[in-house]
Symmetry: C2
Subunit: 458 residues, 2 copies
């Protein structure tokens, strides 16, 4: 054991910050299944992908062989404004829990987007700018991704059109205003500005929208507007590539102090945070150099890994996107209105799905009252009010630390604290008022989602 | 000039963090005028002050001779959870402004209270706990102080009763929920829970409250409840003492890289941030070791330094607090409803008032549309959405940098970025919608405030 006293927070020096992203697919024996053209059911080509995404990003999406990809200097410069993110030793939490476990968290919330989403937003905006585009379109649910993209576009002087799930648009006016302050246009989805939006509104008048629907609208606008492309904040392999900065920094900070985590825990919606956090550690595991336990934590009310099917599925409601093979509840799955936080996407990143299917990663689902209890406990002890999404990882980290208390094991636990909950106070209010309850879908409840799965056998 | 490349962000090592606060009063030839007993008009004694404040804090309030005061270990531990705060080189802002000036800012917003207020909150809560108290009472306007105190009390397991100005309570439900999440009780002020609250409600039915009124309520409850004391987030000398951590860290970071600021800029409401930021630099100036320009920035609509009188005044509406000699607009002054941000207190810290009166510091007032323009510009370029209060300092920092552009001077400018604006989106929305306007009170408008000044000639 090292004699060096570990500080509360480890910040890398600027000169120690990663200059390359790590592409975990390069080290995977079983590569993630390719995206398919929904018309031909053949793998998407670079040309086809480039109609939706920037060309450079389409290349990254298809690249499963190059392990390291240089981070362009302009992006490194932007990273330096809000990174390195600290690796924090949760001394106070350890003391309160009276656990022999050592708990660390990588905190990604110290920027105005309030989450790790900015890591990929600036990359995607940069490549769009470099390609000479006028702007980008995207969707946002809770609003973290939309905010991050607005910030990146403001910095690069790029137009940004955000389709925001209508229920969030109405319930989170402050998120909307942050995006507007950064100069983005924000449209509640479904809207009358797209064909698919009109169709959905006609079929479901009064609908409060969904992420899958907002994706369809954003893609439609990107494809039909000269000088625009679509960008997405999670699920895609390119996003996991950019988010590897989280894990690379965490690993560099740990290596600096000779810390080796036994368990690495991350919340999982589309998979961008978890994929980024674990990637360099997973790389070591894939190459047989080290072993780690990885735990993906998802809401019991939207359990794509723990109760989903591993199958090709639509990524969006309008079925305009390529098909992806993933653990999925079906694009027709709609999380219960009872569900408070994010992590409500029906599918999981293809890369993480393959790793999970290969038994390289565990998954666990947790109920939301237990998640908010952990969030409040963490806020009081460690001083950071977490995003509900992040609190899923906190819940399991605390549970694992309490197990160590029982067994006396001095395990080292690291989890990803993806962001802050400052725009999630409606959910916290429900919790504070004792009005939050749990909901676990029955097998019957999951049937309509599975019924929406396309008939693709690959 | 140093050859060393200055990083975007300078973080002190944990071992470099200050272990003592600096008390600028010790180096002042003209000491700040003492607080007076409102009944006898004699200086408040330790015994009298101890009825309202914790004894240790009362001692700090009266101490104008000891320059350095040890930070208790428990507080240092808490500081390590969210400090050191970074000193940031605003490279991107410099580039955008094309100024030869070097711009730095000390960023205090990376904690859940969203501001520097936590630095004093933990200190005040600590001394209350040490004295064996059950809890503390306080007031909050915009909510940053109340949030900070709630966090500190949750950490130390101390009860926390917050009187929140009614208009903020209603307009900022999310701030309220953050405090509740941390276990504080939050009461809209004026309320029926106090005699002074009832009196004010009877005299002004339908009033939306004021900071001065909320102070009166919090003090009344503290004085009349066994095991409680009152705590205040600004104005007092003890608060400036705790906030010296801002300036001490900034100075240590600058010294590490041989940086000497020419101009130091801070926003000023009650003076806690400005006083803390400038204190060690002011100490050098007072001791004749170095010279700096200090600029206090206040709203044109609440101009206590630039248009107030230097006189003894009431600190609160109910006139239950000691009298303080300060630059003041009179306790009867009420900022225009047009005014969006914080910085709405009628008076200014006695310490800063004396320094200003002695010509050791400048003051400037700015109008709010210009402030929000600076806020938006800064957010887009530097990636942090600032609190409206902090944006007052940004405005003047940009103005000074643009002057350097004209003159070609390579001045080094440092300003305090006290916090983030995530709970101020209603004000940003007004700005985004073009509905924000300026208001400068006429001399006539200031008369009622001055008429409320007590007849004390000291």
């Amino acid at each position: 054991m090292s004699e060096v006293k570990i500080p509360y927070k480890i910040y890398l020096e600027e000169s120690e910050m990663p200059t390359q992203w790590y592409n975990v697919r390069a080290d995977m024996k079983n590569k993630p299944a390719p995206l398919l053209n929904p018309g031909t059911l053949e793998p998407m080509t670079l040309e086809e992908l480039s109609q939706v995404f920037c060309t450079e990003l389409a290349k990254q999406e298809l690249d499963d062989t190059n392990a390291y990809i240089d981070i362009p200097e302009e992006i490194q410069k932007f990273y330096k404004m809000y990174r390195p993110a600290p690796l924090v030793r949760a001394y106070c939490l350890e003391e309160k829990l009276q656990t022999p476990a050592k708990i660390y968290y990588k905190f990604e919330g110290n920027n105005t987007s309030g989450s790790h989403k900015l890591n990929s937003a600036i990359a995607q905006a940069y490549y769009a700018k470099k390609q000479g585009l006028k702007g980008v379109t995207t969707e946002t649910g809770a609003g973290q991704w939309g905010t991050a993209l607005s910030m990146a576009c403001a910095y690069l002087d790029l137009d940004c059109k955000v389709y925001m799930v209508k229920v969030s648009y109405e319930q989170k006016p402050f998120r909307r205003e942050v995006m507007r302050t950064y100069g983005a246009s924000v449209t509640p989805s479904p809207s009358e500005t797209t064909e698919i939006g009109k169709k959905i509104l006609a079929e479901h008048p009064g609908t409060t929208g969904s992420l899958g629907c907002a994706i369809s609208e954003a893609v439609e606008v990107a494809v039909n507007t000269e000088g625009y492309r679509y960008v997405l904040g999670s699920v895609l392999s390119q996003v996991l590539l950019h988010q590897s900065i989280i894990g690379l920094e965490a690993k560099a900070a740990m290596d600096k102090y000779n810390i080796t985590p036994d368990i690495i825990i991350g919340c999982a919606g589309g998979g961008s945070n978890l994929g980024g956090l674990i990637s360099p550690f997973m790389g070591e595991k894939l190459r047989g150099e080290k072993d780690y336990r990885f735990i993906a934590v998802e809401p019991a009310s939207c359990p794509s890994l723990t109760r989903g099917k591993y199958a090709y599925d639509f990524c969006d409601t309008g079925k305009v996107c390529p098909l992806a093979k993933m653990y999925t509840l079906g694009s027709g799955f709609i999380p219960s209105a009872n569900h408070a936080g994010g992590l409500r996407y029906h599918g999981m990143s293809s890369t993480l799905s393959q790793l999970y299917d290969d038994g390289l990663m565990e998954a666990r689902s947790v109920e939301q009252t237990a998640v908010f209890e952990a969030a409040q406990q963490f806020a009081k002890i460690e001083g950071i009010l977490p995003a509900p999404e992040s609190a899923h990882a906190i819940r399991v980290a605390i549970d694992e630390a309490l197990k160590c208390k029982e067994t006396g094991e001095e395990k080292t636990i690291m989890f990803g604290l993806t962001g802050t909950g400052y725009f999630d106070m409606v959910a916290y209010q429900r919790f504070n008022d004792g009005e939050m309850s749990d909901y676990i879908p029955s097998d019957e409840d999951l049937k309509p989602g599975f019924a929406s799965l396309p008939d693709v056998h690959k």
